[in-house]
Symmetry: C2
Subunit: 593 residues, 2 copies
């Protein structure tokens, strides 16, 4: 069972971000906003919630237990119900939410689509991954493809008739894309692609009639390293001149991975060009492939952060329901028959999950709004807005996905022994969540980005900009909230100063990147928790009484239990100790004598 958290979503959109801001972005995006009012957006959320809870959620656990499967011929079968659910998703128009209207999209701002996609991922992360990948491709093609390419591929991708994939990884080239070896040889108006790509999510499946692969490859004589990588459109089935489907391209799905989680989604190994070369079409210019990829990276990383929120929310809901029906022992000061949610430690786990998840959601929607503004703002403010969004992305991806694993672990723990039994379902979220701190750049990669590109490069300017924004917002909140946040601000500033003083010691900075990311994550969470409580109090007349109270108590819980981590990371980083870097890797080995 999944309950779309629409009350909380609407609260963040309306009172933290501001509805005007959302509509404004729609209009800047070229939408006619006269017909768009709150009721329309609310009804989108309501309908999405129904679709997520009644169509996608019921096939989540069975999908995990069945897995996607592959035949000897390389035909991939998704779990029962996935195909039908995908068709229903297309028919209801849900695949068109994000894309531009000229390609059949509804052009919603990210703050709205984030709310909708949160529900897809909570309901069924394995299923929703297909949509996530297609959106990434649509985003890339809208931005970088030729007009002809856009006309050829975008309408069918937007309608969901075709799906899209990203082909980056090769066995020797994961985080380090400079090592890509897949070849692309020009032949008239197209290229012949050959090589092997791994970890291709929905690289092969049975839900759509065609799959469009975006493939990173290297042309002959291309410069070494990342300067020599180009991006190609490689359709699974080639197209006739009229746009209809022609014969299959030279691509073979060799196998799909047996994974720890997200088992409903097929993760394919694709072999290109065993029979002369797969036909591919260059996107943009030769050797500019990574730039195009980087151009969509913020959106992709944001989406994975969103998955973190979504899976934590689902694990939380499951734990809440279990804990209110399971009776085991009599909680202190309670009557016989009182369920375990009244045991103080169970309540502790649930409450911390709740307060952190609410903070995560507020931060994600805030990040989405920052990206919307950056995408749409006037040129003169672009740089600042862009920076504001760009500093939030690694925090959203890194901090939220790390927390999502911890939350899914807490959710499992609340189930006791039942949590360890697959039938219960809590274990699935724990397994599913574990990919999130890895794909689209590990937490360490996010931390490097945050540390070097977004902290050190501009000498802390962007971070100070963020701190000032938070400081200013804290001026108007209740003292009980602003006081602990003031301490946290001081901690963050002192850590920033330490880091800037170490600007020439890259190894120290790299060793402390994740600490810095986690510190800023917990800090931003505090900002959001307090802001939520403050806005709830100030709009109390328009909100249910219990809801206001719950936001206040979530902020209190966050400040007591989560914010102290800011100090911990401050202590770790400010200690300026090089012990880790002094560890000789040879000493890591065990010896039998």
């Amino acid at each position: 069972m999944y309950t779309p958290p629409i009350q909380d979503q609407k609260f963040v959109l309306e009172y933290l971000i501001g509805f005007d801001s959302i509509v404004q972005q729609l209009s800047m995006n070229g939408q006619n906003t006269e017909e768009i009012d709150k009721d329309l957006i609310w009804s989108i959320l309501d309908e999405a919630g129904k679709f997520a809870s009644t169509v996608l959620a019921p096939i989540n656990h069975t999908g995990d237990q069945q897995n996607s499967t592959i035949t000897e011929e390389g035909y991939v079968r998704t779990p029962d119900g996935f195909k039908e659910a995908y068709r229903a998703m297309c028919e209801a128009g849900w695949t068109t939410l994000e894309a531009k209207s000229e390609w059949g999209g509804q052009q919603m701002p990210m703050s709205v689509s984030a709310a909708v996609c949160e529900m897809w991922h909570s309901a069924n992360m394995s299923f929703a991954l297909c949509h996530l990948l297609s959106q990434g491709q649509i985003y890339a093609l809208q931005k970088s493809a030729s007009q002809e390419q856009k006309e050829t591929y975008l309408p069918n991708l937007v309608s969901g008739k075709w799906t899209g994939t990203m082909n980056l990884t090769e066995p020797q080239a994961g985080t380090d894309l400079s090592k890509i070896r897949t070849k692309a040889v020009r032949e008239g108006d197209h290229y012949k692609i050959s090589g092997q790509k791994i970890y291709i999510t929905y690289g092969e499946h049975d839900m759509a009639e065609n799959i469009i692969h975006l493939v990173l490859a290297r042309t002959p004589n291309a410069p070494e390293g990342i300067q020599g990588i180009s991006l190609f459109i490689v359709p699974k089935i080639l197209l006739k001149n009229d746009g209809g489907l022609d014969k299959p391209n030279d691509i073979r799905c060799i196998s799909i991975e047996k994974k720890l989680g997200i088992k409903g989604s097929p993760t394919a190994v694709l072999q290109y060009g065993d029979n002369g070369g797969a036909i591919g079409y260059l996107v943009g210019e030769e050797n500019k492939g990574l730039e195009i990829m980087f151009g969509m990276m913020n959106h992709a990383r944001f989406s994975v952060g969103l998955q973190g929120l979504a899976i934590a929310e689902r694990a939380y809901q499951k734990a809440v329901l279990y804990a209110e029906t399971r009776v085991q022992g009599i909680p202190i000061a309670a009557e016989k028959g009182t369920p375990i949610n009244q045991h103080p430690d169970v309540l502790r786990l649930l409450s911390i999950m709740r307060s952190e998840i609410d903070a995560m959601r507020a931060l994600i929607f805030t990040g989405a709004n920052a990206m919307d503004i950056a995408d749409n703002c006037a040129k003169e403010v672009f740089e600042n807005e862009q920076k504001r969004a760009s500093v939030l992305i690694p925090i959203i991806k890194g901090w939220i996905t790390e927390l999502s694993v911890l939350h899914c672990s807490s959710g499992l723990q609340i189930h006791g022994g039942m949590g360890f039994i697959e039938e219960t379902g809590a274990a699935q979220y724990f397994r599913d969540s574990r990919i999130l701190p890895i794909y689209e750049g590990t937490t360490a990669i996010q931390a490097n980005d945050l540390m070097f590109r977004k902290t050190i490069r501009d000498e802390g300017q962007t971070i100070r900009f963020l701190i000032e924004e938070i400081e200013k917002e804290m001026e108007v909140v209740d003292d009980n909230f602003s006081k602990p946040m003031s301490n946290a601000i001081a901690d963050v500033i002192s850590t920033l100063e330490t880091l800037l003083s170490k600007a020439n010691d890259s190894r120290y900075l790299a060793a402390n990147g994740v600490n810095w990311l986690m510190q800023l994550g917990y800090f931003c969470g505090g900002w959001m928790a307090v802001k939520s409580a403050d806005r709830a109090i100030k709009n109390a007349t328009r909100l249910p009484d219990d809801f206001v109270k719950s936001k206040i108590i979530c902020a209190e819980i966050y400040l007591q239990h989560s914010l102290p981590h800011v100090r911990t990371y401050s202590n770790v980083i400010n200690h300026e100790d090089n012990s880790i870097l002094n560890m000789d890797v040879n000493w890591l080995h065990r010896r039998t004598a």
Copy 2:
């Protein structure tokens, strides 16, 4: 590949615990210690290491992938190689290490058997669980069974010819054993047992000719609750008068669970008495069953803490090997082709795992030694020694198993995308570890024990006793080590004072139990890390130079990265905030509008 960490084990046994102390316990245990010298014990470790790495480790991953399986008739087949490995284990005498010599055992102290069992669990936790359960039963029978029962069951259990199980849990009775419903009706010299037991590890399998179940059940007219529970020996196959095997008892294995981890080990649902009642024999007196169980609880909880160390060690070793062969990107200030273990963040993860695991091992062996002393000391010192051991048990079980999940998660993370693929094996440790904070009492149960029975009941006396011991040991170590530990001691004392001041607020104490447990865990870890470095420095002439250096740097890393958590928990607890307890459970629900 598994490398027995014997160098580290010997270091802890010889320089932290002291070899004399170990031999002394052997002699107090009635062993003739003239023939037992260091070489003998060292050769036990060496041989165990060989057995673990060459026989048990190679069938670990295949065991996980195959699972134990069950036929329609209830016949359970363990994974390939388990049966043969178990036979080899018996033939080599490894099942006899712990038991008393009168029943065929070698009567080794726990500090030695802990070192050996660490290697079993690292090599193959699913397999080693069978031995763990049998040892628990042997311990219980040695302590509480009649002479006739001992003579009937112990020799075959000790030799490994038969294995033992613990039957506590029922669907409605997990943590709360007062709810047990299984019935035992007296009939002459035996009882007829009927009911259903779940989560019975190795409750049915094909590795031994008989399985002896220890079953908690309720006689007619027994008092309600835990005062009415009795303990019974219920053999899978009944015995003839001459001790030979007779016909099967009335026990049926209905199913085995599909679990998140430890999949090689069968977890059975056992149905007793469908055909008139299974024949069982009372252990001790009626209604005293839980006391007997509680009598072995310390040993069982200790063993699970040991599993936490073992699985973390295995995950660590795998990550070390992967990180030194995987090349991906060029680490800062390193040459092209340098493996990822030189990336500062990978080194950070590995180093923290290493320093915490070393601290965990030292703490576990120290705990084992404390239990040995408590078991063997003269009556006049018994109470103090018993307390010393008893306060370490919940910390060992709670803190180490919580950390083991985090370490297995770090180990997986170091593998990047490969970590998420089951073939790699890193994911198995992550899954296996997740049971450890649950079974034998969840972390919250350990925390309750630590908080109420071991902190509040004697007004902090036992905790102060532990703090004083640590304080005293810190007096002789280098200032660089003693200074951060002094701060940590002050933090622990201030937290203890807060808790004692709240002695009448049981809900506050219960809500902070896990915080207190984790605080003491990180604190004891610091104690052990510093003690290890200090002992290494002071015995530097007898130890390899690199080994001494590695212990020093591990202590430094621990003090910088792990000890700060002591302050964090102190801040959380001392805040004296009731926000969690003020959370209304009704507010935990999400609403769609």
